[in-house]
């Protein structure tokens, strides 16, 4: 896999955008700004996915992350009160000593990772060099021969088709398990986010706890469980 020409330009644009957006996510004072920077980082990574011939994953990334998860994040940020952070009266980072220690260790880790990556890839390249270099021309010819779409502005690839076939051939059981995981997540988050009043309304609280809480919150005593009412 060697990119060249415009692909290389797009690679550098989107990778630098992803890294800067990621840095700003971590460093922004306002939590809303953090979330918006994270959205731009995710979109840049989605563009890198398209560059890697994973168009379906790029679409899923934008739909699920940007359209679903980040909207959820923004809702929660607006539900909790972060005014003190925006006004600058609260420190946004941990104590200076912790920050310095973690930044030093992260720097060491990234230096070691990148050195190991480059060394490992050099060995891999030495082993696979003929295949990698042959694939450059093969890909160029295959891309040129792809059928045009009806509007003529784009070309039709079979990447998503191959991925779907492979997903249902080799991963159908994990796929089903993932659906159960999502169901558990939905039920779990509903259970976690309920208030005591809502719990009392469906008769889901220990009577002793309910009496104790009702002592200093008189409204709670008035709540009648729906099944008894």
């Amino acid at each position: 896999m060697i990119l060249s020409g415009w692909e290389a330009v797009f690679f550098w644009v989107f990778s630098i955008a992803a890294i800067f957006a990621g840095l700003l996510t971590v460093m922004a004072r306002n939590t809303i700004h953090s979330a918006l920077f994270l959205i731009s980082a995710l979109v840049s990574v989605a563009a890198l996915f398209i560059l890697l011939h994973a168009e379906f994953i790029a679409g899923v990334q934008i739909l699920v992350y940007v359209g679903g998860v980040m909207v959820l994040f923004l809702f929660v940020i607006m539900l909790v009160n972060v005014g003190s952070e925006e006004r600058g009266s609260e420190e946004i980072f941990n104590r200076p000593r912790q920050v310095i220690a973690s930044v030093i260790f992260c720097g060491l880790l990234v230096a070691a990772l990148i050195a190991a990556l480059n060394q490992g890839y050099a060995g891999l390249y030495k082993r696979d060099q003929p295949k990698i270099e042959a694939a450059v021309d093969e890909n160029r010819i295959r891309d040129r021969n792809l059928a045009r779409s009806a509007t003529g502005s784009s070309r039709i690839t079979s990447d998503t088709q191959r991925m779907g076939g492979s997903l249902y051939r080799y991963g159908s059981l994990p796929f089903e398990i993932a659906s159960v995981l999502l169901l558990v997540a939905i039920i779990g988050s509903v259970m976690l986010a309920r208030t005591l009043k809502q719990e009392a309304a469906v008769d889901d609280v220990d009577p002793g706890v309910l009496q104790e809480e009702a002592a200093h919150e008189p409204e709670l005593a008035k709540v009648q469980p729906e099944s008894l009412a």
Binding site: Q98, K131, L181
Partner: protein, 135 residues
């Protein structure tokens, strides 16, 4: 005067055209697998630094999303590399990325539910004030 500096200029010119700079420029024009993995590593480290240094629990969750995305980038870059080197089941990396996205969505839903419950009970989102589990 020019003759005096000539060797140095020649050396600089040689370094520019055949030296490390030229090699780096040549490599930058043709990004390969290692470049993608490097970007993934940098995103991962930014996420780890965010988890370790920030006090806001919501920003920590967002950093975790960044870490998972860096892992996805690695999976897909490797998948593309294996496609090019003629591996039989090369799209397995993309399939794994789908499951990573599913798990990340479930994790975000549960985590934000916990944040809401926590904020309702403790009135805080600063992690150094959330110490109920400490004995």
């Amino acid at each position: 005067m020019f003759n005096f500096f000539n060797p140095a200029i020649a050396l600089l010119f040689q370094e520019m055209t055949q030296g490390r700079l030229a090699v780096a420029w040549e490599k930058a024009q043709h990004p390969d697998l290692s470049k993608f993995l490097t970007i993934g590593a940098l995103l991962f480290i930014i996420g780890v630094a965010g988890v370790l240094t920030r006090r806001n629990i919501i920003v920590i969750f967002m950093s975790i999303e960044l870490i998972l995305n860096a892992a996805n980038l690695n999976f897909i870059a490797m998948s593309r590399y294996l496609q090019d080197t003629g591996n039989v089941n090369a799209v397995a990396g993309q399939i794994f990325a789908v499951f990573v996205i599913v798990v990340a969505a479930a994790e975000a839903a549960i985590g934000l539910g916990i944040v809401i419950a926590l904020y309702r009970n403790k009135e805080t989102i600063w992690i150094d004030e959330i110490d109920i589990l400490k004995w």
